[in-house]
């Protein structure tokens, strides 16, 4: 005469032969004594599983049914534990007179308890209730944050969600039309949600999962529907890509720096000509002169021309021609120098410079001389100046080009990632402009 409840083996009540008191349809109960409400699969009436007569708690004239993506009774191994799908509910909320619905599949294991798969537009989450209290984070950020298990979650949206459709069984008294305030906080791929009404608050934690994993674990016929749009805690496919592209970019930049350093080390940077001159105004003065011949070594390389003039509130213009003695090939260029200084109410000021450097690239080796034709501001009687030529000087030019080119791919990846995050947050309470609800419109009672 031991109580039935202390038997060592618990018989499933699926064999009890239960029938709906409303329509007589056969009922299955999979959750043993945990089941408190069970829904008649035929007339959709909600029955009290704890009542020996299966009292009808709610019945509906409209028995339009929703086709479940994962059938009730499906079993699969999930995170090392066998679970059976025993219940289904659809939760519906409204935004600007448009209804949106998500689905919740209740999973059961007689030792480990309950967990949920939630689905919206092909996006799935593996959800379980949490008992440790999430902790509000005081932060200066505009969006509220809560911390749970060392992860900070950012508030995404708050909606009033009502239970619009139920099937199967539940370890609580389920009721169509019952409404909870649902607050979602995200840290992709994780989500933390609270559901509250006047008397209670329940927290749950979820992780984004690929529907295909569920399909294979629970041997669901067919294929998982393709997800539509970006879901609130969907991990960004661009986040990892962006990271690796930035990594590659960094590597190439490092190599480019090495090449540039090697270029500096290997450049001969040799002075090939240097001299000082004095310009004096006068009609007898030749307007131009040529320097002695100098040798430019090696093949094609650059040459740096440095000009310095003793200027004080004046300007000078130098017409140059670098001429190959053997071929007569001439490279013409001109440099203007001007230097002004003075005092005003703000103190001393200067403008311009009395020296100038220019680099001519790709000058073949050979014997050269420079033709110089200085021209000065009218009235300038005398001016000292110097010219210095260096062969094969190290330069930043190529490096700058490589640097810019290397930044293009990661910049693009960053842009893509930013775009993904924009699409994610466009569905939140923080969207700058409410987007047109062109997808995701599902009426809770037909599907």
């Amino acid at each position: 005469m031991t109580p039935a409840s202390s038997e060592s083996t618990i018989r499933g009540s699926r064999v009890k032969g239960l029938n709906c008191p409303g329509c007589g349809a056969a009922l299955t109960v999979r959750g043993f004594e945990h089941t408190i409400s069970v829904v008649c699969p035929q007339c959709l009436a909600i029955l009290s599983a704890k009542d020996p007569d299966l009292q009808i708690l709610q019945k509906f004239a409209d028995n339009t049914r929703i086709t479940l993506l994962i059938p009730l009774g499906s079993r699969g191994k999930w995170k090392g534990t066998d679970y059976e799908v025993i219940g289904f509910q659809r939760r519906t909320f409204e935004v600007d007179d448009t209804e949106y619905s998500w689905s919740e599949y209740l999973l059961f294991n007689p030792y480990k308890g309950f967990r949920y798969f939630t689905e919206y537009q092909g996006h799935w989450n593996d959800v379980h209730t949490v008992r440790a209290l999430p902790q509000p984070v005081r932060s200066a950020v505009s969006k509220a944050q809560v911390r749970h298990n060392g992860v900070a979650y950012t508030h995404f949206s708050t909606a009033q969600a009502r239970t619009s459709y139920v099937l199967g069984e539940f370890p609580w008294q389920v009721q169509r039309g019952e409404s909870f305030a649902v607050r979602d906080y995200v840290a992709p791929p994780l989500i933390l949600s609270s559901e509250s009404n006047v008397s209670e608050i329940t927290w749950s934690a979820g992780e984004y999962v690929d529907g295909r994993e569920i399909w294979s674990a629970f041997k669901v016929p067919g294929t998982a529907p393709r997800p539509v749009g970006v879901f609130l805690n969907q991990p960004s496919p661009y986040a990892a890509r962006m990271g690796s592209i930035w990594g590659l970019c960094g590597l190439f930049l490092f190599l480019a720096v090495l090449v540039a350093i090697a270029g500096f080390a290997l450049a001969s940077n040799k002075e090939v000509f240097s001299d000082h001159y004095r310009y004096t105004a006068g009609p007898e003065k030749e307007p131009s002169f040529v320097t002695p011949v100098f040798q430019l070594d090696g093949g094609s390389s650059n040459i740096e021309v440095y000009t310095h003039a003793d200027l004080a509130n004046n300007w000078a213009y130098f017409s140059y021609a670098l001429i190959n003695e053997e071929t007569g090939q001439a490279y013409d260029f001109g440099r203007e120098l001007s230097y002004y200084s003075g005092y005003d109410s703000d103190g001393s000021w200067t403008e311009g410079s009395n020296s100038d450097t220019v680099t001519l690239s790709s000058i073949p080796g050979g014997r050269y001389y420079l033709r110089v034709e200085p021209e000065v501001a009218p009235g300038l009687q005398s001016m000292g100046y110097s010219i210095r030529l260096r062969r094969d000087v190290p330069g930043f030019g190529y490096f700058a080009v490589i640097f810019v080119l290397l930044l293009i791919p990661p910049a693009f990846a960053t842009f893509q990632r930013f775009g993904f995050e924009q699409r994610r947050w466009a569905e939140s309470d923080y969207a700058p402009v409410k987007e047109e609800a062109d997808d995701g419109v599902t009426d809770g009672s037909d599907d």
Binding site: S6, G113, R131
Partner: protein
């Protein structure tokens, strides 16, 4: 720890004590509630049929908590709304006792604790009230007027003849758990933490048709 044997004063059946410090037990056969008075057992009442439940635990289930082995020696059953839950009484090998609460397969383990300050009256408490105990910042998460439904096996105190069992449950941000039992004049404080099924290395569990 010697196994002690006595006979039920009501039906004469043999009563085996798993835990030498048990104050109360039940007779498996006639459902009498038996309380130790010195060396004798006194029959103080009878247990009504317990509500059917599907906890995987049973008397004599074994497990480990923080490396310490325990045996399930008794339980108190409560109901709330349409559901029921069990407070399983655990006996650890060092003869201390603890409680494993199984509410719809969510498990919390706790130990009777002397509160550092007298506990407030049940009526004075509301959800959200906070308390500092043993370095934990506890917040009241639920206030429940549960019903006492019965007992089974060995308990560390007399616990019978109850009807309403007001409970206050508390949680912390780091997963600690507390509960205050207001069923007696002097409230009892239990502190512990939430645990996962897999953390307890449970053995000798009930079996469920169609599973495993």
């Amino acid at each position: 720890m010697s196994e002690r044997v006595a006979n039920c004063p009501n039906c004469g059946a043999q009563i085996k004590f798993l835990w030498s410090s048990a104050i109360q037990t039940t007779c498996e056969y006639c459902h009498s509630i038996l309380v130790r008075r010195d060396v004798d057992l006194e029959r103080v009442g009878v247990v009504a049929d317990l509500p059917p439940d599907s906890s995987p635990l049973q008397i004599s289930s074994e497990g480990k908590y923080q490396g310490k082995p325990f045996v399930v020696v008794g339980r108190i059953v409560y109901s709330y709304g349409l559901g029921a839950w069990n407070e399983w009484h655990l006996m650890f090998t060092d003869s201390t006792s603890g409680w494993l609460s199984d509410a719809q397969l969510e498990y919390d383990i706790s130990f009777l604790t002397v509160p550092p300050a007298p506990l407030a009256g049940f009526e004075a408490l509301v959800c959200g009230n906070r308390f500092q105990w043993n370095g934990g910042d506890y917040t009241i998460t639920s206030i429940t007027r549960a019903r006492y439904r019965g007992v089974q096996g060995e308990l560390p105190f007399e616990y019978w003849d109850k009807s309403e069992a007001p409970f206050v449950d508390l949680r912390t941000v780091d997963g600690r758990f507390g509960t205050i039992d207001y069923s007696d004049e002097k409230p009892l404080l239990f502190l512990g933490e939430s645990v996962e099924f897999d953390d307890l290395s449970l053995k000798n569990l009930r079996e469920f048709e169609g599973w495993r």
